[in-house]
């Protein structure tokens, strides 16, 4: 075995070029690192971009592998990012879309209309980061109890929570 995993290209470069030819305003900002391609999509275009990627014949991203939020740090601006990992079940290529969000306005469009599997992923991101997905059919906490205060995976949430556990 000589080729490390970093040498496998997950997104073919002709596809990236084709996507930029079609919609430069959505896919203009691109990062290629470690064999993975990331598009930083403007927040207002994410639903349209996802719909397009699912239908575009050269892309065919019909499988949403994952949505996960990330907190870049309390000081950072924009503070939050939401990563969409797409996969094609016919062409076997992958791509990552990234949406950056400011702390004051954590709204982003919901992609549950594109892939129904986005439902729970978005609920989880809402629960742990407080990112609000507009248009989600049932946006409520999924992992933590309904009366939980705060969003646990934000960097300013202490590891041990705010209060020690008591039954009362």
């Amino acid at each position: 075995m000589t080729s490390g995993p970093e040498n496998i290209e997950q997104t073919p470069s002709p596809l990236v070029a084709a996507l930029q030819r079609e919609h430069l305003e959505w896919f203009g900002e691109v990062i290629v690192a470690l064999g993975e391609t990331t598009f930083i999509v403007p927040r207002e275009h994410i639903v349209a971009a996802c719909t397009f990627l699912k239908a575009f014949p050269e892309a065919r991203f019909d499988f949403l592998a994952d949505i996960c939020g990330a907190d870049r740090g309390v000081e950072e601006e924009p503070r939050f990012e939401v990563n969409y990992h797409l996969f094609s079940t016919t062409k076997y290529h992958r791509i990552r879309l990234k949406v950056l969000l400011n702390e004051e306005d954590t709204h982003v469009g919901s992609v549950t209309g594109v892939w129904r599997t986005a439902n729970w992923h978005e609920r989880e991101t809402f629960d742990l980061f407080g990112v609000i997905f507009d248009g989600h059919p049932d946006l409520r906490r999924i992992l933590l109890p309904d009366d939980w205060q705060g969003h646990a995976l934000r960097k300013d949430f202490p590891l041990r929570g705010y209060e020690p556990y008591s039954l009362k």
């Binding site: 592998a65 990992h85 079940t89 599997t117």
Partner: protein, 404 residues
């Protein structure tokens, strides 16, 4: 005599129950495989709506990763999908290796494949035992655990742990296989097909089992992809997708194996896929054992990989590296990766983000059980309450991975 009051006739009205009943199933229920809770809206015995309620095992692992060094995080991954801990280890360490750009020696890759396939068989055996137990066949459980015990012994021999091995490290393995491991492994692999036949004899021809599973929990191929199902659940809907083929890792492209699919899209199809998958895993494991050649099991990266015990005692630089790795960890260059592997339950993806420094900035696991469970409402609509148990069993969920 006045006209006697005629007692009103009993009127037999054939109308459906106009009241629907909401019942809560779980979180402490023997058939929910842990602490899953379902809110079932029932019309008589028919399920109108099933809403899973999860989070009863939320462990805060993703938060904990951010406070642990990279090598400390491996231990946490074991407790995630505790039926397939080596798969979790593998996804985590390979994401780290991708960030670091490490090359893993041939022998370590082969051992990883071997151990992961053994673990996959073990995981499927627990699924088979509990699935059959839920449906009512108790004997299978004992047979499955008997076989699984042999696999656990092998894993224990290699790593020292039965259930939580933490055998893979960023840059290779914890240590090489012990002496005599190959022979023990061959013995097990020789005997396993006979055990597999035994399971088929116990269950596959069983008319009760067939009636309980065939045609239950239907989900079409389009729906399955739309809901993000992966692994045996997706292949049970006739989609031949396997990450080991689609995005090969660990040299899986060099192994000869099939991707079993079934077109029935029901509980029975998912059962058959897993039964056939055990056979394929056995095939891969046999190939892996025959490919074991002597060689290093750790990458040549002294700042990341712990040195051998002997080198540490005799060489000053090895001692310094050892001290630094243990006390301060190793710095990982900034970047982000998403690394998918085919775990026993489907696509297990690790999103790892590093800002530089010895601790990750964000680690996220795409748990296959989490996604598979989200499709439960679609599969269970219109089925009987008792079938819910069969459907949950066929999804093969592990709550540790769902709630993380």
């Amino acid at each position: 005599m006045s006209s006697a009051t005629i007692p009103p006739q009993f009127e037999i009205v054939d109308r459906p129950l106009d009241t629907q009943m909401t019942i809560s199933m779980g979180p402490q229920h023997p058939s929910t495989h842990g602490v899953l809770r379902l809110e079932l809206v029932l019309d008589g015995e028919m399920v109108v709506k099933a809403t899973p309620d999860i989070g009863y095992l939320h462990t805060g692992m993703e938060k904990l990763f951010e406070y642990k060094k990279y090598q400390q995080g491996i231990v946490i991954t074991d407790r995630m999908d505790y039926l397939n801990p080596l798969g979790n280890n593998l996804a985590y360490v390979m994401a780290g290796e991708k960030l670091l750009g490490l090359e893993i020696p041939e022998r370590a890759q082969t051992i990883r494949v071997l151990m992961c396939e053994l673990q996959r068989i073990g995981s499927h055996l627990v699924w088979l035992g509990t699935h059959a137990l839920d449906i009512g066949a108790m004997t299978v459980f004992f047979y499955c655990f008997r076989e699984r015990e042999k696999i656990l012994n092998l894993i224990e021999a290699a790593s020292g742990g039965r259930l939580t091995p933490s055998y893979f490290r960023i840059g290779g393995l914890m240590m090489d296989l012990p002496a005599g491991f190959e022979n023990r492994c061959r013995q097990f692999l020789e005997a396993f097909p006979r055990a597999l036949d035994e399971f088929h004899k116990l269950l596959s021809g069983n008319k009760i089992f067939q009636r309980r599973t065939q045609g239950i929990g239907y989900i079409s191929a389009e729906d399955a992809i739309d809901w993000g199902l992966a692994g045996p659940c997706l292949r049970g809907s006739g989609v031949a997708l396997d990450i080991r083929r689609a995005n090969p890792y660990c040299g899986y492209e060099k192994y000869d194996f099939e991707i079993p699919t079934e077109a029935d899209c029901d509980v029975w199809a998912r059962y058959m896929v897993r039964m056939r998958e055990m056979k394929e895993s056995h095939k891969i494991a046999v190939q892996a054992v025959s490919r074991l050649k002597p060689g290093p099991t750790k990458a040549d990266a002294p700042k990341v990989v712990l040195p051998d015990r002997e080198a540490m005692k005799t060489h000053m630089d090895a001692l310094i590296h050892h001290f630094l790795i243990v006390a301060e960890g190793f710095d990982v260059p900034a970047g982000e990766v998403y690394f998918p592997i085919e775990a026993s339950k489907g696509e297990l993806g690790v999103y790892m983000k590093s800002d530089g420094g010895p601790k990750p900035s964000r680690v996220h696991f795409r748990g296959p059980s989490f996604v598979n469970l989200s499709a439960l409402p679609v599969m269970s609509e219109g089925e009987m309450v008792a079938d819910i148990v069969a459907i949950i069993g066929s999804l093969d969920i592990v709550l540790g991975e769902i709630d993380r």
